[in-house]
C-alpha cells in the first residue's frame, strides 16, 4: 500500500513508545527487556541512561527484540554503545523543541484575501432579490439532466432558505482534500452530485424519500486547501448555523478530518454528548499524538477527547488493517466505545454483530449522528476509497445498518467521507457512496412515515402467489 500509510503506522507506534515521556519511565504498554545472561558483560559497559533505555523496553520501539539480541550477539561493546547512543538521540529528538521546531504554521497577516472566499455574502450585497426558500435549477418539470444537484433537489443558499422551505435535510459538500491516504476527496461532492442516483425510490419500503422529506442541495462549505485546521473552524461554524435552522445536515466530503467539525458543529447546537455516533470505517482514527491538531488520523480521538461525544454512545463498525494496534483498541475500550472489528465480524458472523449493533443503537441516546468513511467497504465495491483497506464489509451490510439507525433514531447529522472519485473511472465507487447516503435517506423516510425501522412493503417482500 502507500507510503503515507506506513507513516501513519509510525505515528501510532511512536505514540505508544513515547507516551512514557522521560525515557527513564517504563512505557505502560511496552514490555521490559530482561537482558539475557550471555549479554550481561556487554550490557555492563553501557552507561546508566543507556541501560535504562534498554531495560525499560523503550529501545524495542526502534528495534524488535529479535533484532536487538542479534545486535548484541554480533557487535562488540563499543559498537553496541554507538548504536544505543544513536537510538537514544533519536528518542530525544522525537518531541517538540521550541528552539528549533516550527510549532505553528505562520500565515500572511497582510494578505488582501486572508479570509475572502470563506465569507458568505451579506444580505445587503446580494444582487438578486428573491423571496427566501429553496428553488429549482431545472427548466423542466421532470428533468433528465441539467445542473447537477444532490438528489436533483432544489438549491438553498442561505439559512433563511432552509427556514422558509421548512427543510428537513440539507445535503452539503465539503470538498476538503487532505486525506492521509490517496487524495481526490475534494472532487467527492461533485462526483456524487453528477451521478444523479441520490434519493431514488427505495426498493424495500417503496417510498420515495423526496415525497416524504424536504431535501435541498445546500451547496458547498468553503475549505482552505492548504490547512485542515482552518477548514475545520469554518466548517464547524457553518454546520452549527445550518443545524440551528432545524434542518439535518448531510455532509458529503471531503476527507475524514471533516468528521470533527461535522460532529462538533452539530454538538454546538444540540448539546455535547447529547447524541450518539455510529461511525463506519476501516480506521479507528484515534491517533493520540498526531503532530497536527486536526486530521483524519485523529478525528474520532478529538471528538472523544474534547467531550463532543460520549464514549459509551460511540459505536465504531468495520475496523481492520494496520491502523489497529493494541494501544488504540485498549484506549477505545477504556473510553467505553463500542467497537466492532472485521475480526469480530468474521469470527461471530455478520448477523450476530448486526443484531448487537442494532441493540446498541436502540439502547443508545434518542438521537444519532451517522458517519461513513467509505473505507469501511471492501475495495471490490469501493476501489476509490482514499484510505482503502482490503477485506472489508459489503455494501448491503453497511447499508442495512445505516438504514436501521436512520429509521430507528432521530438523525442529527450524517456524513460520508474520503471518496476519491478519480481512482475509479467506472464510477461504481461513486454509485456505492450514493447508495450509502440513500440508505440513511430511506431510513429517515421510513421513520417520517411512521413505519417500523425494518419495514418492508408487502408487495416487495413476496410475490404472494401460491
Amino acid at each position: 500500500m502507500t507510503f503515507s500509510r506506513a507513516a501513519n503506522r509510525i505515528r501510532l507506534i511512536f505514540c505508544s513508545i513515547l507516551l512514557c515521556g522521560p525515557l527513564a519511565l517504563v512505557s505502560p504498554v511496552q514490555a521490559d527487556w530482561n537482558v539475557p545472561e550471555p549479554f550481561a558483560e556487554k550490557f555492563e559497559v553501557l552507561g546508566p541512561k543507556q541501560q535504562v533505555f534498554l531495560t525499560s523496553g523503550a529501545v524495542l520501539d526502534f528495534l524488535p527484540q529479535r533484532q536487538l539480541e542479534h545486535e548484541f550477539n554480533t557487535r562488540n561493546p563499543e559498537q553496541i554503545a554507538v548504536l544505543v547512543d544513536e537510538l537514544l538521540a533519536l528518542a530525544d529528538a522525537m518531541g517538540y523543541d521550541p528552539e528549533k521546531d516550527m510549532g505553528a504554521i505562520p500565515l500572511n497577516l497582510n494578505a488582501t484575501y486572508f479570509n475572502r472566499g470563506a465569507l458568505p455574502t451579506p444580505e445587503a450585497l446580494r444582487e438578486m432579490k428573491r423571496t427566501p426558500g429553496p428553488f429549482g435549477v431545472h427548466r423542466y418539470l421532470y428533468p433528465m439532466s441539467g445542473v447537477p444537484t444532490f438528489a436533483g433537489a432544489p438549491v438553498a443558499i442561505w439559512p433563511e432558505d432552509l427556514v422558509a422551505g421548512n427543510v428537513d435535510v440539507a445535503i452539503v459538500g465539503v470538498p476538503s482534500n487532505m486525506s492521509s491516504g490517496r487524495r481526490d476527496a475534494g472532487n467527492g461532492p461533485d462526483a456524487m452530485r453528477s451521478l444523479n442516483t441520490i434519493a431514488l425510490r427505495d426498493g424495500q419500503s417503496l417510498l420515495e424519500p423526496l415525497d416524504v422529506l424536504s431535501v435541498v442541495d445546500y451547496g458547498n462549505f468553503s475549505v482552505d486547501g492548504l490547512s485542515t485546521e482552518r477548514t475545520a473552524t469554518r466548517v464547524a461554524r457553518m454546520v452549527a448555523d445550518t443545524t440551528a435552522t432545524g434542518a439535518v445536515v448531510m455532509i458529503v466530503g471531503g476527507d475524514t478530518s471533516m468528521l470533527y467539525p461535522g460532529v462538533a458543529g452539530v454538538a454546538e447546537v444540540k448539546g455535547a454528548e447529547s447524541f450518539g455516533l455510529l461511525h463506519f470505517s476501516a480506521h479507528p482514527d484515534v491517533v493520540r499524538n498526531d503532530d497536527h491538531q486536526i486530521s483524519d488520523r485523529r478525528a474520532v480521538f478529538s471528538l472523544l477527547d474534547d467531550d463532543k461525544i460520549a464514549g459509551q454512545d460511540t459505536i465504531l463498525v468495520g475496523l481492520r488493517g494496520d491502523d489497529l494496534d493494541k494501544e488504540s483498541l485498549q484506549w477505545l475500550r477504556d473510553q467505553q466505545v463500542r467497537y466492532h472489528t472485521m475480526a469480530g465480524i468474521q469470527s461471530r458472523g455478520l448477523d450476530k454483530v448486526l443484531q448487537r449493533v442494532e441493540k446498541e443503537v436502540s439502547r443508545g441516546p434518542g438521537a444519532f449522528f451517522v458517519s461513513v468513511d467509505v473505507s469501511v467497504l471492501d475495495p471490490a465495491e469501493m476501489p476509490a476509497a482514499g484510505r482503502l483497506v482490503t477485506q472489508g464489509m459489503r455494501l448491503a451490510e453497511v447499508a442495512q445498518m445505516i438504514r436501521f439507525v436512520c429509521a430507528e433514531k432521530d438523525i442529527v447529522g450524517f456524513e460520508i467521507t474520503d471518496l476519491a472519485p478519480m481512482l475509479d473511472t467506472s464510477r461504481v465507487s461513486t454509485a456505492n457512496a450514493n447508495a450509502l447516503l440513500n440508505a440513511c435517506l430511506n431510513g429517515m423516510a421510513v421513520r417520517a412515515s411512521g413505519l417500523e425501522p425494518d419495514y418492508i412493503h408487502p408487495l416487495t417482500f413476496d410475490h404472494g402467489q401460491r
Partner: protein, 552 residues
C-alpha cells in the same frame, strides 16, 4: 504495507533518506554565503510574523471618487467614517465605479444605503486579518511526543558498517534490485555523495498539496522509479552519448514531507537539497507539487550565494502569485524566492505560460522587474524555433548558474494528462526534450526539478514515461556539457544524417564531422595500461547491460 511488517522495516521506509546526523534541524543556518536579510528564526519556529514586506506591489489601488451633491439625501444615516469608506478606493472593489456607486445609491432608500455600506465595510474588514478575531497562525500539536517522527533519519549504526559511497542494490553488477531512478545506485548521505564523486543526485520529493488534482505524493516518485527506471538512464541516440557513462548519478531517496503543511515541509526539503548542492553535485528533484521550487532554489542560493542563481521556469502558470493567507503554495514559489532575495527577478526566465492568469498587472510587473517571459502567445507569433533559440541564449549568458524548474504542465496534456492543473496548447515532447537537453548542455546548470506528476490520472503510464524522458534529456545535456559538446544545438553528425547521398547539399560536412569526432576519440583513446583495464571492465559491464536489456 501489510500489518505484519516488522517495525524496523517500516521505520526504514519512513527514514529512507537518511544521513549520519540524527535530525536535520529546521533552524540550522546554511553553511555558505549569505547576504544579510531579515532574521528568520522567529518565523521558522512559527512564533513571529513573517519578516518580509508581504504586501503585493502589483495590487493596483483604485482611485477614490467624490459623490455628487444629488445623492446627499441618500447618505443621511451614514457616519463620517461610512462616507469616507464609500468614497475611498477600498470601496471600489465592492461598490464598483463612480457610476455604479451613484446608481446603487439612487435605487436605495437611506436605510438600505446604510445596510449596504455596513455590509461592504464588514466584508472589507473581515477579508483581512484582524487581531484578536483571526488566528494569526496554525498551531500544531506541540504536546505530541512523536512531533518530529516524520523527519527523523535512520542512524547508520542500525545497519552493518559499510564504506561511504553509492550502493548498488542489485545482484547482477548492480542490476536486478529494487527500482531506483534510472537504475542508478542509491546514496543516503552527503558522505556517500562525496565518496562517490557524485555529479547528479536525483531526489524524490512527494509533496502532495497542489490546488488541482492531488496525487503527486509518493505515487509520483515511486512510479518514476518503476515506470521511468530504464528510460531515465542510458544512451541518447541524438547525441550518441550515455550520461550514465559520463556522470556519476545516484538515486538520493525521497525527502520527508509533511503532507498537511507545505510551509512545514519547506525547511527540511531545503536542508536536503542543500546537502546535495554543497558537494558540488547537481540536485535533481522530482516531485511533488511546484511549491518545491522555493526550497530547491533557496538551497542553491544558500550554497552559491544569494542573487547568484538564475532560474528558468517551465510552466503553463507563472507561479508568482501572492496575497493569500498562506506564505507558500504551488502558485507562490517564484514570488517568494524573489521577495526573500534568493533570486533577482531579472534572473528569472519564464517559458510556456498560457493559463488564464496573470492579467496585465502581472505582466507589467514582470516587464518592470526585468523578468524574461516567453508565453505561448510569443510562440504563436514567432514560431517555436525562434523562441527556443532566444531562451537558450538568455539562459546561457556568461556567468549564469542556472536552475531549471520544469512543471510538466508546460507540456501539452496530450502528452502529460496526469498533472494537477493541465492547460491545453502546450509544448509537444519533441520541443520539450530538445529545449531541456540544449539548456542542460549549453548553460551552466546547477539544479533541476521536475514537478506536478500525478500518476493516478493516467492509467497508460504515458505521463510518467514522458516525465522520465525530460529527466533523461537533462542528464544527457549535463553529460554533453562535461564532454565539451556545448556548441549551439549540437546533434551527432552520425545519427542526424546518413550522408550516403548529397540530398541537402552538405554531405561532406557530415562525413568530415564524423571523421573528426572519430579522430578526437582515437586520440583520447591512446591510453595508459590502467585506462585500458577500465575499458575492459566497461566492455564487461556493457555485456551485462546487454544481457539485462535482452531479458527485458
Amino acid at each position: 504495507m501489510n500489518s505484519g511488517l516488522p517495525l524496523r522495516v517500516i521505520t526504514g521506509l519512513l527514514l529512507l533518506p537518511g544521513t549520519g546526523s540524527v535530525l536535520a534541524q529546521e533552524g540550522d543556518s546554511p553553511a555558505a554565503v549569505h547576504a544579510p536579510g531579515p532574521d528568520m528564526s522567529g518565523h521558522i519556529v512559527g512564533e513571529e510574523p513573517y519578516p518580509f514586506d508581504t504586501v503585493d506591489p502589483r495590487l493596483e489601488e483604485k482611485d477614490p471618487i467624490t459623490l455628487p451633491e444629488r445623492v446627499a439625501p441618500k447618505l443621511g444615516l451614514l457616519t463620517a467614517g461610512d462616507i469616507e469608506f464609500l468614497e475611498s478606493g477600498d470601496a471600489r472593489g465592492l461598490a464598483g465605479s463612480e457610476e455604479d456607486t451613484i446608481e446603487a445609491l439612487e435605487e436605495r432608500s437611506p436605510e438600505e444605503v446604510k445596510a449596504w455600506v455596513d455590509a461592504m465595510r464588514q466584508v472589507f474588514d473581515n477579508s483581512r486579518f484582524q487581531e484578536g478575531v483571526d488566528q494569526p497562525n496554525i498551531p500544531l500539536n506541540t504536546e505530541s511526543d512523536a512531533y518530529n517522527a516524520w523527519r527523523l533519519q535512520r542512524p547508520r549504526s542500525m545497519d552493518p558498517p559499510r564504506e561511504d559511497g553509492p550502493v548498488a542494490l542489485g545482484r547482477y553488477d548492480g542490476f536486478g534490485g529494487p527500482p531506483t531512478f534510472g537504475g542508478f545506485p542509491l546514496a543516503l548521505s552527503q558522505a556517500d555523495l562525496i565518496a562517490g564523486e557524485v555529479d547528479v543526485a536525483i531526489l524524490g520529493a512527494p509533496l502532495n498539496m497542489g490546488s488541482g488534482w492531488r496525487d503527486s505524493g509518493e505515487k509520483a516518485t515511486t512510479d518514476l522509479r518503476v515506470v521511468g527506471g530504464w528510460a531515465i538512464g542510458g544512451q541518447d541516440q541524438y547525441i550518441q552519448i550515455d550520461a550514465s557513462e559520463v556522470l556519476n548519478v545516484v538515486d538520493y531517496g525521497d525527502v520527508a514531507v509533511d503532507n498537511e503543511s507545505t510551509e512545514r515541509s519547506m525547511q527540511h526539503v531545503r536542508e536536503i537539497v542543500r546537502e546535495i548542492a554543497e558537494t558540488g553535485a547537481v540536485p535533481m528533484i522530482v516531485g511533488g507539487d511546484h511549491s518545491l521550487e522555493y526550497p530547491n532554489v533557496a538551497a542553491l542560493a544558500d550554497v552559491y550565494g544569494k542573487e547568484n542563481i538564475s532560474v528558468i521556469h517551465f510552466d503553463s502558470h507563472y507561479d508568482a502569485w501572492w496575497g493569500g493567507s498562506h506564505l507558500i503554495s504551488h502558485g507562490y514559489p517564484v514570488y517568494r524566492l524573489i521577495m526573500e532575495g534568493h533570486v533577482r527577478a531579472a534572473d528569472y526566465i519564464q517559458v510556456g505560460l498560457r493559463s488564464s492568469g496573470p492579467g496585465k498587472s502581472g505582466f507589467k510587473w514582470m516587464r518592470e522587474q526585468g523578468m524574461r517571459y516567453h508565453t505561448m502567445a510569443e510562440v504563436e507569433r514567432r514560431g517555436w524555433g525562434a523562441v527556443l533559440d532566444r531562451v537558450v541564449a538568455e539562459a546561457s549568458e556568461e556567468g549564469r548558474k542556472l536552475h531549471i524548474s520544469f512543471d510538466i504542465d508546460v507540456i501539452d496534456p496530450a502528452f502529460t494528462p496526469a498533472t494537477g492543473t493541465p492547460v491545453p496548447g502546450g509544448l509537444d515532447m519533441r520541443e520539450a526534450i530538445s529545449i531541456v537537453r540544449r539548456l542542460c548542455a549549453e548553460a551552466n546548470v546547477v539544479g533541476f526539478d521536475l514537478v506536478e506528476l500525478h500518476p493516478a490520472l493516467d492509467p497508460t503510464y504515458k505521463t510518467t514515461l514522458n516525465s522520465a524522458h525530460i529527466i533523461k534529456a537533462c542528464l544527457t545535456g549535463i553529460a554533453m556539457n562535461r564532454e565539451g559538446l556545448t556548441t549551439p544545438h549540437y546533434l551527432s553528425p552520425l545519427s542526424s544524417e546518413h550522408a550516403i547521398d548529397n540530398y541537402y547539399g552538405d554531405q561532406q560536412y557530415y562525413l568530415d564531422a564524423t571523421a573528426a569526432e572519430d579522430e578526437r576519440e582515437e586520440a583520447a583513446g591512446e591510453v595508459t595500461d590502467e585506462q585500458a583495464e577500465d575499458l575492459e571492465e566497461d566492455s564487461v559491464e556493457q555485456g551485462v547491460e546487454d544481457g539485462a536489456e535482452n531479458r527485458d
